[in-house]
Amino acid sequence: MLSILRRRPALTYALIGLLGAIFLLMVWQDEESSGAGSTADLRGPREPDGFIVNAVYRAYDQTGQLSSRIESARAEQFEDEQYALMEEPESAVFEKETRIPWNITAEAGRYDLNTELLLLSGDVRVVRSNPGMAPTQLLSERLTLDNLDRIVHTEAPVTLLDYRGTTDAVGMRAWIDDRIIEFQSEVEGEYVTDNIKNRR
């Protein structure tokens, strides 16, 4: 094969050129796929219609006051069904009268853009600061924030930590602006007396 190439230089150059073209073609395709690859990576496997990095959703009441704010490191929006999936959403829902926020965090959230329902899951924490007292905390694995009706509710087990002590129950509904919490079943409360509290 080599002796043939030595006797016919034109064939040699053509072969080198062909090999070069093939090499360039391979390099170009690799870049092409990686380019496409980086876009696909950004968009994510669920292929949302749109995605927002460091997303912030704000909702206002009829008087123009900020009623809630939801932030997420990444939100993926799906236009057809009008919802957004959120990573580690952090919400703040502001009480109408006092403007004190109920700060809500979770591992994941699904926000319905029409009904303003935010379904939270994974280590859900609701924290409300109380001037001069320990904050009120609600802990659960699943919770729905209904910003239109201004309530949070769950069917899952829930724990309330507040100035009274600890209350465990299954199922809960809380009215944000009225600051009323209803536990639906299996209520077990352990409350410290003021004597114990004063010694803390």
């Binding site: 009120t136 209350t167 009323i180 209803e182 007396t193 003021d194 004597n195």
Partner: protein, 163 residues
Amino acid sequence: FDMNSDAPISVNADHARLDDMAGRATYTGNVVIVQAETSLRADRVELYRDAEGLSRILAFGDPAVYEQAETSESPETDARADEIEFDAASHLLTFRENAVIRQAGDIFRGDLVRYQTENRVVTAERGSSDDSAQVEMIIQPRRQQNSGSNPATEDGNGPADRN
């Protein structure tokens, strides 16, 4: 219930409604409240809080039952009524409607019975609405301290000969 005690208060119920603004927590359905040797069982219990803490407890039942176990200083107490109110500041328990208090064999019945939990004094009254109602008290004679004399029997006819 002693707000200055070291013992925590446990509350179990089917449902609960905590109203922060009104300072009221309402527990309904098989409500059991326990603190150390004291317990309260009722269908519905309302706990009221003020700036200092728990100020008042209102219990409703058929009947609501308040029990205090015997201690070294005091006998067992079993008290029941349709409505029981506990005022933390005055340590006063008020039993309304079909009130029956049992303590070391003594029985107090009336429409309105008050029980001071600190010094364990019981006062009974007839309800204002029903003139025919009466207060009933059965006080067991105390055992005489000095030897030789026997206590009166249940029917009060003087010492019985026991050979």
